[in-house]
C-alpha cells in the first residue's frame, strides 16, 4: 500500500535536525531574558518534588512504587499529567549533578525547548511529505518565528510540549493509514500526548471524523468499480484506544493508586475549570459566555498577517481537495487540485480548526491567551508553506526570461521577503512575548487602544531586574503583584537578582510595589496610591511605549535609592 505523501529521505532529516538544533541554540541564548512565569514556577516546585522520586526509583524501585512515595512526590500539581514535569525533574537532576546550564531556570526549561525544537523537524518532515520540501521548510521556519510561539517555546510549561505531541500523533496516525508499524507508533505517541496535557483529548474525535470521511470516499471509489486502495480497518485508532490509556496510566504514578477516582478528579478539573480574567476589546471577561470571536481575533492579532494570508492562500488552493467529492466537482469544476486517497487536507484542516473551535465555544475558559490553541499552529503554518510555494510559482512565471536569477534564488528571495515580518516582530517581541501584537492589531500600541490583554503570568518582572539592582543596592522588599514568590526566587537562584531583594509580606511595608498592567489588576494600582499617598510611579516599564509594569516606591523606605 502506498504511503501517504512524498518521499522523505536522510537529507530531509538532516535539514530537520539543522532547523531543530538552530532553534534550540536560539532558545537557550535568549532564555535568561525571560523571567519565570506564574505557571512555570508551579511546575518548578512540582519537578523538584518529583526529582527525589526518580532518585529513589534508581536506588530502590520497590520503595519508589509504594503508595506513600508516589503520593509524597506526585500529589503537588496533580491536575496535570507528569510527563513534561518528569522531564523537567530529570533535567534539574542533571543540572544538580553536572552543572550543565548557566541558570537553574534553563535546566528546568531545557526539555520543553528540546520538544519545541523537535517540532520544527517534525513540521518540516510532515510538510515535505504532504506538500513538498519548500512548503515544509517554510512552514517550520514560519512556526518558529511566530512571536507567541517563540515566547512559549522558552518555558517549562506544557504548551509547546503538547503542540509537539499532538503534531506527532497526527503524523503517526496519518502514516498509520498505510502502515501497521505506524499504527503502533500512533498509539505510543497518543499515550505520550495524553501524559502531556489534556489538549490530546481532542485528537480521537478529529481522527474519527477524518477516518469516516476517508472511508466514505474509499467506499464510493470501490462502488464505482475502483480497486481497493487502502484498508478500512482503523488500526491507528485502535492502537490509540488501547496503547494510549495504558501508557497514560503507566507513566503517571499518581494514577497507580485510586486510579478511577483520580482519573475522575483529573477530568473534572479540566471539564469544570475555574474562570480567570481576560481582557478583550476593553472588557474584562471573567465568566461565560465568552466571546466566540476570541480565538479568531487573537490569532489575527498575534500571528504575522503575511503568514495568515499565506495560510489562507494555501487553504484556498486545497479547497477542491477538502470539499466532499460531489460538492467539489460542482464548486470547482476546473480544479486541478485533487484529494489524495488519505484525505490529508481534511485531516490537516480538522487539526487546524478543532483547537480553535473548542476555545471559541462560549463556555470554554479563555484565560490562556493564544497558547490553548497553539496545537493548531503547525497546521496553520503547513498551509502557509503551501501558500508560499504558490507565491514562488507565480514569481517564477512573472520573472521567467526577465531576470537572470536561478530557481533557488527566487525561492530564497521570496521566503526572505515573506518571513521578514515574522522575524522582525519575533525579535522585537522578546522578552515581551505575551504583550506583543502584530500588524492587524496595530502592533502593541494598537492593541492597547483596542483594550486587549497586555500580559499575564507576571513574567515581565524579569525586565525590572536592572532597575531593582540599581535602586535597592542594600537589598529590600518588593510587592510582586502577579509574579509568584517562587518565580521571583528563581531570579535569585539564577544569579540575576541578589538574594537580599525579597518579596514583601504586605503592600504598605514594601520598598517597591509592582503593578502588572492587566485590566483586572487596575485595583492594585489604586491600592498602591492609597498605601503610599502618592500616585507617581518611580518607574514605568514599557514595550513600544505601552506600560507593562508600573513601579511605586514607598516614600517611607530608607533602602530605596531615589
Amino acid at each position: 500500500m502506498n504511503r501517504p505523501g512524498r518521499h522523505v529521505g536522510g537529507w530531509d532529516h538532516l535539514v530537520g535536525f539543522a532547523l531543530a538544533a538552530s532553534y534550540l541554540g536560539l532558545l537557550l541564548a535568549t532564555a535568561p531574558a525571560i523571567a519565570m512565569s506564574r505557571d512555570e514556577s508551579f511546575y518548578v516546585v512540582a519537578a523538584e518534588r518529583m526529582a527525589p522520586w526518580f532518585e529513589l526509583l534508581a536506588d530502590s524501585p520497590e520503595r519508589a512504587i509504594e503508595r506513600s512515595a508516589v503520593d509524597r512526590h506526585f500529589s503537588f500539581n496533580h491536575e496535570h499529567p507528569s510527563l513534561a514535569k518528569s522531564l523537567f525533574a530529570l533535567s534539574w537532576l542533571a543540572q544538580r549533578r553536572h552543572d550543565l546550564f548557566p541558570e537553574v531556570s534553563t535546566a528546568h526549561r531545557f526539555p520543553a525547548m528540546v520538544l519545541a525544537s523537535l517540532l520544527l523537524w517534525l513540521i518540516y518532515v510532515f510538510g515535505a511529505r504532504a506538500f513538498g520540501r519548500p512548503a515544509g521548510a517554510f512552514a517550520a521556519v514560519s512556526f518558529a518565528l511566530l512571536p507567541r510561539v517563540f515566547y512559549q517555546a522558552h518555558l517549562n510549561a506544557f504548551d509547546l510540549p503538547i503542540t509537539f505531541m499532538t503534531t506527532l500523533v497526527v503524523y503517526c496516525y496519518w502514516r498509520s493509514l498505510a502502515s501497521r508499524r505506524w499504527a503502533l507508533l500512533a498509539g505510543l505517541a497518543f499515550g505520550l500526548a495524553l501524559e502531556t496535557k489534556h489538549n490530546s483529548w481532542l485528537l480521537p474525535p478529529i481522527f474519527a471524523i477524518h477516518f469516516a470521511w476517508m472511508a466514505a470516499a474509499e467506499v464510493a471509489h470501490r462502488r464505482r468499480g475502483g480497486a481497493k486502495r487502502m484498508s478500512l480497518f482503523p488500526y491507528g485508532l485502535l492502537s490509540m484506544g488501547t496503547l494510549g490509556p495504558l501508557l497514560f496510566v503507566g507513566l503517571w504514578p499518581w494514577l497507580w493508586y485510586d486510579t478511577l477516582p483520580r482519573l475522575e478528579e483529573y477530568a473534572n478539573f479540566h471539564l469544570h475549570h475555574v474562570y480567570y480574567n481576560m481582557a478583550y476589546f476593553g472588557l474584562n471577561y471573567f465568566r461565560p459566555p465568552f466571546p466566540v470571536s476570541f480565538p479568531f481575533v487573537m490569532t489575527l492579532f498575534t500571528v504575522p498577517l503575511t503568514v495568515l494570508v499565506l495560510a489562507l492562500l494555501g487553504l484556498s488552493q486545497r479547497l477542491p481537495a477538502i470539499a466532499p467529492g460531489p460538492l467539489a466537482a460542482r464548486l470547482f469544476p476546473r480544479a486541478t487540485e485533487v484529494a489524495d486517497r488519505y484525505r490529508t487536507d481534511v485531516l490537516m484542516v480538522g487539526c487546524l480548526l478543532a483547537p480553535i473551535v473548542v476555545i471559541a465555544m462560549p463556555s470554554t475558559p479563555i484565560f490562556g491567551g493564544t497558547k490553548h490553541w497553539m496545537p493548531a499552529y503547525p497546521f496553520l503554518c503547513l498551509f502557509a508553506g503551501l501558500g508560499y510555494w504558490k507565491v514562488v510559482r507565480w514569481a517564477r512565471e512573472l520573472l521567467r526570461d526577465k531576470l537572470p536569477v536561478a530557481r533557488h534564488s527566487v525561492r530564497a528571495l521570496t521566503a526572505c521577503i515573506l518571513l521578514t515580518p515574522s522575524m522582525l516582530e519575533t525579535v522585537h517581541s522578546h522578552p515581551f512575548g505575551l504583550s506583543h501584537y502584530t500588524y492587524a492589531a496595530g502592533f502593541t500600541p494598537g492593541a492597547a487602544d483596542y483594550g486587549m490583554n497586555r500580559q499575564f503570568w507576571g513574567f515581565t518582572t524579569g525586565s525590572l531586574v536592572p532597575f531593582l539592582r540599581e535602586h535597592l543596592p542594600e537589598g529590600g522588599t518588593v510587592w510582586l503583584c502577579d509574579t509568584t514568590p517562587m518565580a521571583f526566587d528563581m531570579l535569585a537562584r539564577d544569579g540575576l537578582l541578589p538574594a537580599n531583594i525579597r518579596p514583601a509580606r504586605a503592600m504598605h511595608l514594601a520598598d517597591y510595589v509592582l503593578v502588572h498592567h492587566e485590566h483586572h489588576f487596575a485595583e492594585v494600582d489604586f491600592q498602591a496610591w492609597v498605601a503610599f499617598h502618592d500616585v507617581q510611579p518611580a518607574y514605568v516599564l514599557t514595550h513600544d511605549g505601552v506600560p507593562i509594569i508600573t513601579v511605586y516606591a514607598n516614600p517611607a523606605s530608607r533602602r530605596v535609592r531615589r
Binding site: 503575511t306 515573506l418 500588524y439 502592533f443 483586572h520 510611579p537 514599557t542 506600560p547
Partner: protein, 307 residues
C-alpha cells in the same frame, strides 16, 4: 494580482513595524511635555492622559502635581482647567468639544489645555471625612466609631479598596465596618476617590458632616468595588442623605449600575442659606460584599463643561 498583494502585504508589514516603533514616544518626550505643563500648572488644574492606557506614563512624568483627588476624580467639576498629554491623536475623555486653549507638540506627545471656567465645587465631603462624626445605629442606641490609627491593610487582586492607616473603626469584631478615604475600583475599572462606608445591614451606618456651606446642589456618586458588583448577583444598598436630620434624597443602587450619580437641588430658602449638617447613611438588606464607597460635593450652578 494576488502575488503582488501578498508581497506588498509583507513589505507593508515590515514598513508598519518600523514606523510604529519609531512613533512610540521616548520617555524624554514625555518629560519635555511634562516640563511644559509643570511650569504652567496652577492649583485647580487637572492633568489627564489620552489614551487612558498612557496614564502611568503621565503620572510618571507629572505625578508630583497629581493628587488622589485628580487621579480618582468622579468628574471634572472640581477643576478650573484641563491639561491632557496625548499620543496617537487621541482626545481625553470629558474634554470640551472645542479647540484647546493651548496646543503644543513635544516629539510625539501633544499637550493640550482647556480652560473650563471656575469650578462649581464649594465643598468636597471626601476632603473632610476626618472631621466627620461616624456612628452605627440611630438615636441613643447609636454606637460611635472612633477615628483611629488602625493600621494600613489590604493590597492584591480581589482585595478591594485599600484600608488607609487612619480611619474610623467601628469596634472589635466588626473589622469590615470602617469609614475613611480611599480609592476604589469601580465597575468600569476606573479609580474613584471616595469614602468607604460598607453597611452593616438594616441598621444604618451614619457619617455626619457639620457646618457644610450651603449651595444650590449636592452631587453624589456611589458604587461598589468592581469584584463585588460585577457578578450582578447581590442585593442592593441604600445611601440616604439627610440635611439637618431630614432626608433630602436617597440612592438605591443595584449591581450593574456602576459609579452612579445622584444630584440633589436645594431651592433658595432662608433655611437653606446657612451652613447645615449633612448625614450619609448606608444600609443594605444583605451587606456581605456591599463595599459601598461614595464621593459627594456641594456645588453652585453648573458650568457648561466638566459636570
Amino acid at each position: 494580482v494576488i502575488f503582488f498583494a501578498v508581497m506588498g502585504l509583507a513589505l507593508a508589514e515590515i514598513f508598519a513595524h518600523v514606523i510604529t516603533r519609531a512613533r512610540a514616544p521616548e520617555k524624554a518626550a514625555w518629560a519635555r511635555a511634562a516640563a511644559y505643563v509643570r511650569a504652567r500648572y496652577e492649583p485647580g488644574d487637572a492633568i489627564v492622559a489620552a489614551p487612558s492606557w498612557a496614564d502611568p506614563l503621565v503620572r510618571e512624568a507629572l505625578g508630583d502635581v497629581i493628587d488622589l483627588a485628580q487621579a480618582g476624580r468622579s468628574d471634572l467639576a472640581g477643576f478650573d482647567r484641563l491639561w491632557a498629554l496625548s499620543i496617537r491623536g487621541r482626545l481625553p475623555e470629558g474634554a470640551p468639544e472645542r479647540e484647546p486653549d493651548d496646543d503644543r507638540l513635544f516629539d510625539g506627545v501633544r499637550v493640550m489645555r482647556w480652560d473650563l471656567g471656575p469650578s462649581s465645587v464649594r465643598y468636597d465631603f471626601v476632603d473632610h471625612v476626618r472631621e466627620a462624626e461616624v456612628a452605627l445605629g440611630e438615636g441613643s442606641g447609636a454606637a460611635p466609631c472612633r477615628w483611629a490609627r488602625a493600621g494600613a491593610r489590604g493590597g492584591g487582586l480581589g482585595a478591594g479598596a485599600f484600608w488607609p492607616e487612619e480611619r474610623f473603626a467601628c469596634g472589635f469584631g466588626r473589622g469590615f465596618l470602617w469609614v475613611g478615604e480611599t480609592v476604589t475600583e469601580d465597575l468600569d475599572l476606573k479609580p474613584r476617590r471616595c469614602i468607604h462606608q460598607q453597611p452593616e445591614g438594616s441598621v444604618p451606618l451614619r457619617v455626619t458632616f457639620r457646618d457644610v456651606p450651603s449651595t444650590q446642589r449636592l452631587v453624589l456618586y456611589a458604587g461598589l468595588y468592581y469584584e463585588d458588583e460585577r457578578s450582578l448577583e447581590r442585593g442592593p444598598f441604600t445611601l440616604r442623605v439627610r440635611r439637618d436630620g431630614v432626608e433630602v434624597g436617597r440612592m438605591e443602587h443595584r449591581d450593574g449600575e456602576g459609579w452612579k450619580r445622584l444630584e440633589l437641588a436645594f431651592p433658595p430658602s432662608p433655611s437653606h442659606a446657612r451652613a447645615a449638617s449633612f448625614t450619609f447613611e448606608t444600609t443594605s438588606p444583605a451587606p456581605d460584599r456591599r463595599s459601598v464607597c461614595w464621593a459627594a460635593t456641594m456645588r453652585v450652578a453648573p458650568r457648561e463643561v466638566g459636570e
